[in-house]
Subunit: 214 residues, 2 copies
């Protein structure tokens, strides 16, 4: 298809598509003559992921480029490829090691991974920005005197494992290796707004049930 | 306590505390003489919430001020107060009503609320920015051909209701009405990084279990 059709089918303006092409977020089309390039279904799929990362996931353009670079790197095995893409996604602030709440949070996160039996996460802990994000988030809760310990977190960990299993099951229905990793990244980014919105809706709902609306 | 002690106990620099005071995020201390003000435990607690909103929740200063304004508004009932605070939190982009994925997402979200029996959420749907966020997030998934329908979402909705019940149970252990609403807002903002980090960790873990690491 031509650029105009790619724009029509994706709902992304031609100016934005050209910007994504220039920024290397979308691979170039097949040049048919000096002024015309041809795009295919892979471009359409990639364009949807780029929009999802940037517009829904609020991922900066440079970060999206890095994540997609890992997705496309077929020299890597699937776990490393997915891990590299997930590790490149925006993370929270780094933990302040001088803060006693951080030390306490780290103890609880370590106990949590032991409770859950997440052996790889325990091994990768010193390297993983995702692990550090969890420590930061738990430290913030503990500083607010939220009794957020390993036992309290374990059921949420189990649920998130259910979500991850569904992600990977879904990933496995996809054809190419790049497409599989692409789906898992989309899931990691796009599920968050759904879970967040569901959480807030549930708060409203439960508050109305308990206290009424007046 | 003096400003210096408030800084020491909270781990927030005096310059940042002064900035929060100027911005109206923190109520002024009790003036004891021309150059000295006295702060109490309420200031410390509020300061922790402000840090949580801004540093962990990435909430802009102006938004944090609006959220805290609702938290402090004791002319409102608890549900409305909590709702106003939650509705003031940053939401996702507005749905594009011309997009067929948005129309399809709205149908699924309506079916979801019916399945879950969330009556208040159904009634408030036309007004609620949280409801709109959910429609936007589901539309983004459907555009990526993620089969995200009411049946698939219902178990996550049930879990988020469990989370919300724990939030409100915890809220009820707090003394003042403002403090209760404050806790619920902190939970809505601070649980997200924990859930997100747990989700990504679970993806790594499950990927390593299925495909090994190499």
């Amino acid at each position: 298809m031509r650029l105009a059709d790619l724009s029509k089918r994706s709902g992304v303006s031609t100016a934005t598509i050209k910007y994504y092409l220039r920024e290397g977020l979308l691979p170039p089309g097949r040049q048919v003559n000096a002024t015309t390039a041809e795009y295919d279904e892979d471009h359409l799929r990639r364009l949807r992921l780029v929009r999802a990362l940037i517009q829904v996931g609020k991922v900066p353009v440079a970060t999206a480029r890095e994540v997609l670079g890992h997705v496309d790197d077929d020299s890597l095995g699937r776990t490393v490829r997915l891990g590299a893409a997930l590790w490149a996604l925006p993370q929270d602030a780094e933990p302040d090691e001088a803060d006693p709440a951080v030390a306490a949070a780290r103890v609880e996160v370590d106990r949590l991974l032991e409770l859950l039996g997440w052996e790889t996460s325990r091994e990768l802990a010193p390297l993983s920005p995702v692990h550090r994000s969890l420590v930061v988030a738990v430290a913030a809760l503990r500083r607010l005197d939220y009794p957020w310990d390993a036992e309290l977190m374990a059921p949420y960990g189990e649920l998130m494992m259910e979500v991850a299993r569904r992600d990977l099951d879904f990933m496995e229905t996809h054809a190419s290796e790049a497409e599989k990793v692409e789906m898992a990244v989309a899931a990691a980014v796009l599920f968050q707004p759904v879970l967040r919105a569901l959480h807030r809706l549930a708060q409203e709902e439960e508050s109305a049930r308990r206290y009424g609306i007046e």
